[in-house]
Symmetry: C2
Subunit: 256 residues, 2 copies
């Protein structure tokens, strides 16, 4: 049975998509069958892997709104052990379309029943909000990976996210766990960066990931070539950081 | 009659809050009576000016959901010509509460009828989404200022935002104009940064702001002290950039 990890944080621009894409690629490089689900209407994770979503008619939208099985929406990528369920801009309307459905928070969880058996890891990239799409991802998940940019505003928003996670745990998904809090865009030269790392490590203890993701321009260049950083520049610091994160996640989950 | 400028972009972390707070402070420094409205449930703009929103009971939430006049919610700040209507975490629920109201997109526009007369500039900071809160801000606005981070994903999302702006112009607010496209977190050493600037200037021509906002750590430190960068480090590059932006906006609007 695979593990479903949702990558979420309602603060914008903290590295959710960069983490979902590059962690998925690193797990696939370690020959772990991995599925990446893009549930953000911006479709950045899909674009970041070179997929032009405008032409597609089998995306996460059809899975959520028209009961399309995940296996029909999953697409192969350049990497043998990595498949993707792409997003689509029409997902913007899905939150309103799903509001009146019965069990509207459970739609993705139910859709994943079968797919879980095929993959060792399923990663879900979320939009920067705590609406119905993110709630579906939190309800479907075994755990949530929380990217936190090494900045002041990113720290401020953590309380709100932890609140939402405990509400989801109480009403929708009792076994939802925190996979880890991942510090991103770390710059060792900046005092603020170091302060945020100290604060997060003190507060989250062993839930804070040991791996730090450094600010590295290769990570922001790679999506413009439609590739994860591992295929764009395997020797870069960004590629090394996400390989290390994949190792850390695999060590935390030996039974998979 | 004051001018209402909405600062919007559904892409997360592009510098909406940093721009709204520091442009408002720079306009106030130029003795232009300015109101900053924080319509993001994250309440970053409110926090960034040192306001603890948890204790407040007269925020933008009461304006939108309970018809509280804006003049009752506006708070004074350390700067004589700057007032703020703070946000609150309970704004998360407002989008659902407003869905069934008549003219749900016009609530903020109607609330601003009186307030417009008191201020020369009204700036509105939006959340990273195109939901009902951002739609209210676009319907209430004379123009929209679009921060674009000098990164690939930020460029990708512009099409979606321009679509939404033309839909709002067609159905809700015929005179909605683009105040400018503002390039943020520019780093002249990075090829990607320079490519994004070229692309945006070629595409938007005179709608692209002349002012470039450089990446400058003082801008990300200032909110942790509850101050705009002008009061935190007036000699910093970040402070200079936003003063220059204020001058550019005032030059574009000589009749105010
Ligand atoms: N470690 C890093 N070093 C340098 N740039 C990075 C790093 N991580 C992310 N970026 C860049 O920062 C920007 C924001 O990252 P990303 O889009 O992954 O965040 P997000 O949380 O998914 O944003 P959103 O809230 O819009 O979904 C992107 O342009 C990305 O390329
Ligand atoms: N020019 C800059 N130089 C350095 N840091 C910056 C700059 N502009 C913004 N930042 C920092 O980058 C982060 C993102 O900026 P900000 O929060 O203003 O973006 P936003 O678009 O309002 O995000 P959200 O989508 O979550 O509302 C913040 O931590 C901020 O302090
Ligand atoms: Mg993203
Ligand atoms: Mg913001």
């Amino acid at each position: 049975m695979g593990k479903v990890v949702t990558v979420a944080n309602q603060k914008g621009g903290v590295g959710k998509t960069t983490t979902a894409v590059n962690l998925a690629a690193s797990l696939a490089a370690a020959e772990q069958p991995t599925l990446l689900i893009d549930i953000d209407p911006q479709a950045n994770a899909s674009n970041g892997l070179g997929i032009d979503t405008r032409q597609l008619d089998r995306t996460i939208y059809e899975v959520l709104v028209n009961d399309l099985p995940i296996s029909e929406a999953a697409m192969k990528t350049e990497m043998p052990f990595l498949e993707v369920v792409p997003s689509h801009i029409n997902l913007v309307g899905a939150e309103i379309e799903m509001v009146d459905l019965r069990n509207r928070e459970m739609i993705l969880k139910n859709a994943l029943e079968q797919a879980r058996k095929k993959y060792t890891y399923v990663l879900i990239d979320c939009p920067p909000s705590l609406g119905l799409l993110t709630l579906n991802a939190l309800t479907a998940a075994d755990s949530v990976l929380i990217p936190v940019q090494c900045e002041y505003y990113a720290l401020e928003g953590l309380g709100q996210l932890l609140n939402t996670i405990s509400i989801v745990r109480k009403h929708l998904n009792p076994q939802l766990d925190i996979e880890g809090v991942l510090l991103t865009m770390f710059d060792s030269r900046l005092r603020l960066s170091n302060q945020v790392v100290e604060e997060v490590r003190r507060h989250f203890q062993d839930k804070a990931c040991n791996t730090l993701i450094n600010r590295n321009v290769r990570l922001s260049e790679a999506p413009s070539f439609g590739k994860p950083v591992l295929l764009y520049d395997a020797l870069s610091l960004g590629a090394k950081n996400y390989l290390q994160l994949a190792e850390e996640i695999m060590m935390r989950n030996p039974s998979l």
